[in-house]
Symmetry: C2
Subunit: 169 residues, 2 copies
């Protein structure tokens, strides 16, 4: 049996620790930020929604994949539907909420293409219906202008937020 008395210096540190911030980015990542989850979404958005396709294309262990799929279905990001009874066979497809995560995939792909492959030898190109290769760009819905870091000002609305930098409120 130990005394479990904390030295005061430790007590002070404990008093200073706080819960992490309320944040939609953190909440979103709690759902889709686990390993392989966004790659699952990539595949189902491409129409490759069967279990063994996912295993092959993503390279995830089967049990981990099964866990991720359950979680994404529970979160309303994917649906599981049978494409064949007798033999029962299933396919995962994105829900509308899942499809709305595509912008995240597109911006990630853009960044990877530019910074990790320097624009050459891209493993895959996406074509937009306008006929050009898609280069996704984030714009402000209100004014239509492309968004740059220096154009942003953060306004914390909930307790727990402090902003010290150039984007401070």
């Amino acid at each position: 049996m130990s005394w479990k008395i904390k030295p005061s210096s430790t007590l002070n540190r404990m008093a200073a620790t706080k819960d992490p911030r309320p944040c939609s980015i953190a909440d979103a990542l709690a759902l889709v930020g686990e390993k392989y989850s966004l790659l699952v979404l990539r595949e189902v958005c491409l129409g490759n929604g069967r279990f063994d396709q996912l295993v092959r294309n993503i390279g995830a262990p089967r049990d981990v994949l099964a866990t991720r799929l359950r979680r994404l279905v529970d979160a309303g990001i994917l649906t599981k539907r049978a494409y064949s009874e007798r033999p029962q066979r299933f396919e995962y497809r994105p829900t509308p909420a899942g499809l709305e995560l595509e912008p995240v995939l597109m911006t990630l792909k853009e960044w990877g293409d530019r910074h990790l492959r320097k624009g050459a030898d891209l493993p895959m190109v996406v074509e937009h219906s306008c006929g050009n290769e898609l280069v996704p760009q984030v714009t402000c819905q209100a004014c239509g202008e492309p968004v740059h870091h220096d154009d942003l000002t953060a306004h914390p609305q909930a307790p727990g937020w402090t902003v010290t930098g150039p984007a401070a409120a």
Copy 2:
């Protein structure tokens, strides 16, 4: 000592396994997809780049955070610089490459705001220099139009890709 003879059904399964696809999304996630990495980027983009600020605001264990920071610095996404010698104190800031990950954060925040909080009681609002609240929208750089799933066609360029769905090449 065991014989290590595989049943033939297993042999066949092994022959079918392949490496995962070459993919910029997967490569990007290998760098910034680990737990907490994107939250570190959030904080650093807000100007909160000191170790203990990061610990408090993110809620990450200190050792994990130290590991992530090293990795992000190595990847050229953050820089570490002293803001005080004697006592040595450091601050992490985003590099240009790090700043270019902001679109990923913005699209994630958008999704979380809409789907996880239904638009009400947002913990934080970002203002664009045009004076409006920022609602990020992904557009096609070539034609300027907002991008929708059905407007996209995937064109695999590297081996290992198969696309069976509506976005098939």
